[in-house]
C-alpha cells in the first residue's frame, strides 16, 4: 500500500502542490515563531549575562523600614563600605556606582529615545589608572564637574551631539543643561538596543541619584575559585543588614531576562495566530484535494477492492498519501520557518524597541511542533476523504460513464447547521445586553463567534444554491458563458462551499476586524478630544514627574494664551480601588475642560469638596451631596482617609479622569507634594498654532520629560497602537485570503480535468478559447463571491454583536462601518478569483474540440 500511496502522490504532484503550499505555510509559521522565541530568549539571556558578566555580587541599599528615623535612612553605601568590601576574602574588584534614569533632548530639542528602563545614567568613576573600565572613552575626556557629561556613541549619534554641545536633560523635574565632554562605548544591551546613556562625575551623580558621598550600588567581582553565592554570604556578614543587602549578579541577570522574555512571548502570539489561521484554512484545502482525488480515482479504488484490497487497506493508502504530503510539506515549512525566524526580529523591532539578536536556536520543540502540526493537520484532514475511499464498492470498477456528483442536500446538515446558527447568534445577541467587557463576556463572545463560523461552514453547501443563483444574475450578463459558470459552480455545492469556506473565514475576520477597528478608532477619537476644551495639553505623562512652578507661570504669560489651567494629577483610594484624581482651578476649569455635569457643578469645588465621574458615582452609590471617603496613595505607608463632600457628578471624561478636586487640596497628597503634572492651554482664537506650540515648549524649558500636544496629536496618540495592531492582523488575514486563492486554483483545476469532454463539446459547438477562459474565470469569481458574501455577512453580524461589549468598555463606541475598507475587502476577495482561475482557464482553453468525441 505504501507503494500505491507513493505512486499516487507522484502521479498527482500538481494536484498536491496547493496542499503542500498551505501546509508548508502553516508549519513555517509555527516553527518560525518557536525558533524566533527560542533565539530571542537565548539572545536576551546572553545579553543580560553579558551585562552582569563581571558582577558576582551587587550590594544595594535596603528600603528603610516604616517609621525609620532620619539617621537610619542614610544610605550605608559609602566609600568606607566599599573599602570594607574590598577586604572581604574572594573579592577581586569593587566597583561602586551612582546610577539612575536621565531623559535627554536631542540636538533639535525633542525628547531622545524615551523608553522605560533604557535611559540610563551613571557616575564615571576612574580607577587607579584614571579610567573607568566599564565605559572606555572613545572621544574627549571624562566629565570632571557638575557642568559636564559624557554619553555613549549610539546616544551621541541618535541625538546628533558633538563634543562641546550643550545637552538638555532632566531627571524628574527641573531641566538641566550640561556640556558634552566625552563619548564612551558601552556593551550594556539596554543602551545599545535604542536606549541612551549619560555619565556624570562622581559628586554630581551621587547628588542626583543617591545622596552626597553615597552610592546607589556597589558591584563586586569574585576572585577565581570563589562562587558568587559563597561570596554573597561572606559579604552579607560584613553588611549593616538593616540598610544594605547583597544579590548575586546571576540573579539580577535572570530578573532582567524574565522581563525581556515576557515581552518576547507577547510577540510570538501574533505569528502563532497566523499559523493557526493558515492551518485552519489549509485543512479545508486538504479535505477538498483528497476528496477530489478519491472521486477521480473511484474506478481505480474499486478495482483494488475488486481484486481483494480490504476497506482498511484502501483508507490506509489515502492516509499514507496524506502522511507523505504532510512530511514533505512540514519539512519544507520548517526550512521556510527558519527564514521567517531570522527576519522576524527586524520586522518586530521598531525605532524605539530593538529586540536582542543572536544566532538561530533550533530546539527539538520547534522541529517536533513543525512536523507534528504539519503532518497532524494533513492526516486529520484526509481522514474524511479516506473514509469515503473505503466506501467505494467494487462494482464501481465496472461502471463506464463518469458519475455525476450527487447534489443531494442532507436534511441532517440543515438541521445541525441551523441549530449551530441559532446557538451562535443567540450567544452573541445575549451579549448585546452585557454591561461590561469582563473576561467571561469576552470569552462568551469568542465562543459565539466560533460557533457562528462552524454554523456557516456547515450551512454553506445549502446556502450555495440561493446565493449563487443571486450572483448568477450578475454573471448572467455575460450571456451563456456566465450562465454556464454559475451552473458549474452549483454542480457540486459541497465542493463549492468547501472552497468558498476558506475565503469566507478570511473575509469574515477581516470585515469584522475592520468594523470593530474603525468603530474603536472613532470612539477613541471622540473620547480623546471629547472632554477637552483646551487647544494644547502640556503633560509629564506620569504623576511622579512635575512641571516646575516657574514653567507654569511662563506658560500663562506666553503670548496668545488665554487660559492656562494647571492640573495636579495623583491617585487616591476611593471605594476600595485606586482612582486617578485631578486637581484643578475651579475658576478656569470650564474654559479648558468640557465637563458635562449630570448634577452639581465645578463652581462648588473647594477644599474638602470633590466632583466624581458618573462611573465612579455609580460604583460607589453616591450623588451630589453625598459624602465619600478618599484615601491617599502616597509615600506615606499608613493610609489616611479623609471625608469629602461630593459637589457634582460629570459624564466620564478622559481629561478630567475619575475625580476632580481643587488643586491645592489634591496636590497635598501628590507624589511630589504641591507639584503640577499637566497644563491645559486655551489660546486666543486665530493664533498661529505652530508658533504657539514652539513658544509653549520654550516656556517649559524644552524639558525632555514634558510633551506639548495639540488635539490632533492627542487623538493620534490614542489611536496609534490600535492602528498598528490592526495592520498586523490585516496582513495575517491577507495570507489567509491568499491560501483561499490556492484552494480555488485547486478546485478549478479539478473541475476542468473532470469536464474535458464537456469543454470539448463546447469547443466543437462553437465556443472559442476566450469564451472557455471567461467561463472558468467567472466560475472562480462566482465561488469567490459566495465566500465573500457569506464572510461579509458573518463578519458584520459578529462585529455588531461584539460591539455592545466594546460599548460597555468605551461609552463613545458606536458601530461605524468603514465603507471604503469594506468595499476594498469585497473587491479584493472577488478579484482573487481571476488570478486563481488563470492556470485552470488556460488549461481548459487549450483543450481540443476532439476531446468531445474521444473514447471515454
Amino acid at each position: 500500500m505504501l507503494k500505491t500511496a507513493l505512486r499516487n502522490l507522484l502521479a498527482h504532484k500538481a494536484r498536491q502542490l496547493m496542499t503542500l503550499l498551505a501546509v508548508c505555510l502553516g508549519a513555517a509559521f509555527v516553527s518560525g515563531t518557536l525558533v524566533f522565541a527560542d533565539s530571542t530568549a537565548a539572545a536576551s539571556r546572553d545579553a543580560m549575562s553579558k551585562n552582569y558578566a563581571d558582577i558576582a555580587v551587587t550590594v544595594t541599599a535596603k528600603e528603610p523600614p516604616p517609621g525609620a528615623t532620619p539617621h537610619q535612612q542614610t544610605s550605608a553605601l559609602d566609600d568606607a563600605l566599599a573599602r570594607k568590601l574590598a577586604a572581604v576574602s574572594g573579592v577581586a574588584a569593587v566597583r561602586p556606582s551612582a546610577d539612575g534614569v536621565v531623559t535627554m533632548n536631542a540636538a533639535d530639542n525633542t525628547p531622545l529615545r524615551v523608553k522605560q528602563g533604557a535611559n540610563l545614567a551613571d557616575a564615571y568613576l576612574p580607577g587607579t589608572d584614571g579610567k573607568d573600565s566599564r565605559y572606555p572613552l572613545a572621544e574627549g575626556r571624562a566629565p570632571r564637574n557638575s557642568g559636564e557629561l559624557a554619553v555613549d556613541g549610539t546616544t551621541a549619534a541618535a541625538g546628533g551631539f558633538r563634543l562641546g554641545d550643550k545637552v538638555t536633560l532632566a531627571i524628574d523635574g527641573p531641566v538641566m543643561t550640561k556640556r558634552l565632554v566625552g563619548i564612551v562605548t558601552t556593551k550594556d544591551t539596554r543602551v545599545t538596543a535604542a536606549g541612551t546613556l549619560a555619565l556624570f562625575d562622581k559628586a554630581t551623580a551621587q547628588k542626583l541619584f543617591a545622596s552626597p558621598g553615597h552610592y546607589s550600588s556597589i558591584d563586586l567581582s569574585a576572585a577565581p575559585g570563589t562562587a558568587p553565592s559563597e561570596l554573597a554570604q561572606r559579604v552579607t556578614d560584613v553588611l549593616p543588614t538593616d540598610r544594605a543587602e547583597a544579590t548575586t549578579g546571576a540573579a539580577l541577570a535572570d530578573q532582567q531576562a524574565i522581563l525581556v522574555n515576557t515581552q518576547t512571548r507577547g510577540y510570538t502570539k501574533l505569528p502563532l495566530v497566523f499559523a493557526g489561521i493558515s492551518l485552519f484554512i489549509g485543512s479545508f484545502l486538504i479535505i477538498n484535494t483528497f476528496t477530489m482525488l478519491v472521486t477521480r480515482r473511484t474506478r481505480e479504488i474499486a478495482l483494488l477492492r475488486a481484486i481483494g484490497a480490504t476497506r482498511r487497506q484502501v483508507s490506509r493508502s489515502v492516509l499514507l498519501e496524506a502522511l507523505l504530503v504532510g512530511l514533505v510539506a512540514s519539512g519544507a515549512g520548517f526550512l521556510l520557518g527558519l527564514g521567517i525566524a531570522s527576519v522576524l526580529p527586524d520586522i518586530l523591532s521598531t525605532d524605539g524597541n530593538t529586540l536582542p539578536q543572536g544566532p538561530l536556536v533550533i530546539g527539538p520543540r520547534s522541529v517536533a511542533a513543525a512536523l507534528g502540526v504539519g503532518v497532524g493537520v494533513t492526516v486529520l484532514a484526509a481522514w474524511l476523504p479516506s473514509r469515503k475511499a473505503a466506501k467505494v464498492a467494487p462494482i464501481e470498477a465496472m461502471r463506464t460513464t463518469e458519475q455525476p456528483p450527487s447534489a443531494k442536500r442532507s436534511r441532517i446538515r440543515g438541521v445541525a447547521g441551523l441549530a449551530l446558527l441559532v446557538l451562535g447568534a443567540g450567544v452573541l445577541v445575549s451579549l448585546s445586553g452585557a454591561k461590561d467587557a469582563s473576561e467571561t463576556n469576552l470569552q462568551n463572545a469568542m465562543v459565539g463567534c466560533a460557533v457562528l463560523v462552524a454554523a456557516l461552514i456547515v450551512l454553506a453547501p445549502i446556502l450555495a444554491s440561493p446565493v449563487i443563483r443571486l450572483t448568477g444574475r450578475l454573471t448572467g450578463r455575460f450571456g451563456i458563458t456566465g450562465h454556464l459558470a454559475q451552473q458549474n459552480a452549483l454542480r457540486d455545492p459541497r465542493r463549492t462551499a468547501a472552497t468558498a469556506a476558506t475565503l469566507m473565514i478570511s473575509t469574515g475576520l477581516i470585515a469584522g476586524l475592520a468594523v470593530i477597528g474603525n468603530s474603536t478608532a472613532q470612539a477613541l477619537d471622540s473620547q480623546a478630544a471629547a472632554g477637552l476644551g483646551a487647544d494644547y495639553v502640556i503633560s509629564t505623562g506620569t504623576p511622579t514627574t512635575a512641571i516646575e512652578s516657574a514653567a507654569v507661570h511662563r506658560v500663562g504669560e506666553t503670548s496668545g494664551v488665554r487660559t492656562a489651567t494647571a492640573v495636579s494629577d495623583t491617585t487616591a483610594t476611593i471605594g476600595g480601588s485606586v482612582q486617578s484624581i485631578s486637581g484643578v482651578d475651579p475658576d478656569t476649569v470650564n474654559d479648558t475642560m468640557k465637563l458635562d455635569f449630570v448634577s452639581g457643578s465645578a463652581k462648588d469645588l473647594g477644599p474638602g469638596r470633590i466632583a466624581v465621574s458618573r462611573t465612579l458615582a455609580q460604583k460607589n452609590g453616591v450623588t451630589t451631596g453625598s459624602e465619600l471617603n478618599v484615601g491617599n496613595v502616597g509615600t506615606d505607608p499608613k493610609q489616611q482617609f479623609t471625608k469629602y463632600t461630593v459637589v457634582g457628578v460629570y459624564q466620564d471624561n478622559p481629561i478630567a479622569k475619575d475625580a476632580l478636586g481643587v488643586r491645592s487640596d489634591v496636590a497635598k497628597n501628590a507624589f511630589k507634594p504641591g507639584s503640577v503634572q499637566r497644563i491645559l492651554v486655551r489660546t486666543d482664537g486665530g493664533a498661529v498654532p505652530t508658533t504657539v506650540e514652539k513658544q509653549l515648549r520654550t516656556a517649559v524649558s524644552n524639558s525632555p520629560l514634558i510633551t506639548v500636544q495639540d488635539r490632533e496629536q492627542l487623538v493620534t496618540q490614542a489611536a496609534g497602537t490600535l492602528g498598528d495592531l490592526l495592520n498586523v492582523m490585516y496582513g495575517m488575514l491577507a495570507v489567509g485570503v491568499a491560501i483561499s486563492a490556492l484552494g480555488i486554483v485547486n478546485t478549478l483545476a479539478m473541475s476542468v480535468a473532470e469536464r474535458t469532454r464537456e469543454i470539448g463539446a463546447l469547443r466543437a459547438l462553437g465556443m472559442d478559447r476566450s469564451g472557455i477562459r471567461r467561463m472558468v474565470r467567472l466560475e472562480a469569481v462566482t465561488v469567490a463571491a459566495f465566500g465573500t458574501l457569506l464572510g461579509l455577512a458573518g463578519g458584520l453580524f459578529g462585529a455588531w454583536a461584539v460591539g455592545s461589549l466594546a460599548n460597555a468598555a468605551m461609552p463613545q463606541y458606536s458601530l461605524a462601518l468603514p465603507w471604503g475598507t469594506l468595499l476594498l475587502v469585497c473587491l479584493l476577495s472577488l478579484a482573487i478569483g481571476v488570478p486563481a482561475a488563470a492556470v485552470p482557464a488556460r488549461r481548459a482553453a487549450a483543450l481540443s474540440p476532439l476531446e468531445a468525441v474521444a473514447e471515454g
Binding site: 455525476p404 451563456i480 450562465h483 454556464l484 469532454r757 463539446a761 459547438l765 462553437g766 474540440p849 476532439l850
Partner: protein, 260 residues
C-alpha cells in the same frame, strides 16, 4: 455523386455542394509509427442529401468527418464548407464556422448536464449571441417530439431523448451541414430508428444536409447515399441504399470485421 477527384470542382465553390474535400490526407506519427488515416480523399457532400460514411474500424471514416467538420486539421489537402476554405481560418474563425454553419450529433450525446433540454438546444445560438427563430425552433422541437420535456435536465432524460435533444440542437441554428458521429451507437434499436427517422425527415422536409459516420447497415439504410472507406480512401458508393444492399456490398468488399 462521385468519390473520384474533380479538380475543377474542388478548386472553386460549386453551387449545390454543402461541403467538399480535395486531395485530403491525414497522417499520424512518423517513421515506424507512421499511420495514414486519410489518403488523398476528394469527396463532395451535396446540399439536401443524407450521406452515410461506412467502413471497418480504422478505415479513417471518423477522421474524415473530423477534418470535414473543422474539428481536426488535415496534414495536406483542402476542406471547404460552402464557399469557405477551412485551412485559411484562424482558430477563432474556425470556431465561429462550427458554431454558425455546422451542426454536430455525437455518439455520447455530449449535452451540457447543467443546462435544460431547451438551453442545450439553443446553446449554439446563445454562443453566437443570436436569438432563436421561435417559429423554426417550435417546428424543430415538435419534429423531435420534445415539447413536453424542454425544462428537463439531461440526467432526467433517457438516452433516446437525449439524442433527440442533440438532433434538435444540431438543427436549431439551421447549419449548412450536420455531421453525425455514430449517432445511434449508444442507443437501442427503437430509439436509434427514431433518431435516424428525424435525420431523414430533416433532409426530406427541411432540406437539411446531413453526413453521418456509422458502421450499422440498418442506419446506413436511411441515407440517400452510402460511401465506403477502406484504408483511408473511398472504395465504393451506392445511392438509395437498403440495409440489404449495404450488407451485400460490405460482404463483397470483404470487410466484415466490424467491431466497435
Amino acid at each position: 455523386m462521385s468519390a473520384t477527384p474533380f479538380a475543377s470542382r474542388a478548386q472553386h465553390a460549386v453551387p449545390g455542394i454543402a461541403a467538399a474535400t480535395f486531395d485530403l490526407s491525414k497522417v499520424y506519427g512518423s517513421g515506424d509509427t507512421r499511420v495514414v488515416a486519410l489518403d488523398h480523399v476528394s469527396i463532395d457532400f451535396r446540399e439536401g442529401e443524407f450521406t452515410a460514411i461506412m467502413g471497418p474500424s480504422g478505415c479513417g471514416k471518423s477522421t474524415l468527418m473530423h477534418c470535414a467538420a473543422g474539428l481536426d486539421s488535415p496534414s495536406s489537402g483542402s476542406v471547404r464548407v460552402g464557399t469557405t476554405e477551412l485551412s485559411t481560418l484562424s482558430d477563432r474563425q474556425l470556431t465561429a464556422l462550427r458554431r454558425d454553419r455546422i451542426g454536430f450529433i455525437f455518439q455520447a450525446f455530449n449535452l451540457l448536464p447543467t443546462l435544460t433540454a431547451l438551453e442545450n438546444i439553443t446553446l449554439p445560438l446563445a454562443l453566437a449571441g443570436r436569438h432563436p427563430d421561435q417559429q423554426w425552433l417550435d417546428r424543430v422541437v415538435a419534429m423531435v417530439g420534445l415539447s413536453q420535456r424542454l425544462g428537463h435536465r439531461p440526467a432526467q432524460l433517457s438516452g433516446g431523448q437525449q439524442q433527440r435533444v442533440a438532433v434538435a440542437r444540431a438543427l436549431a441554428s439551421r447549419p449548412a451541414i450536420i455531421f453525425g458521429d455514430e449517432p445511434t451507437g449508444n442507443l437501442d434499436s427503437r430509439a436509434g430508428a427514431d433518431v435516424l427517422g428525424f435525420l431523414r425527415d430533416s433532409v426530406r422536409e427541411l432540406g437539411q444536409t446531413v453526413v453521418m459516420v456509422t458502421h450499422d447497415p440498418v442506419a446506413a439504410g436511411y441515407a440517400d447515399r452510402v460511401v465506403f472507406l477502406s484504408d483511408g480512401r473511398p472504395v465504393d458508393e451506392i445511392t438509395h441504399p437498403t440495409p440489404g444492399r449495404v450488407l451485400d456490398l460490405m460482404k463483397s468488399l470483404g470487410a466484415l470485421s466490424y467491431t466497435s
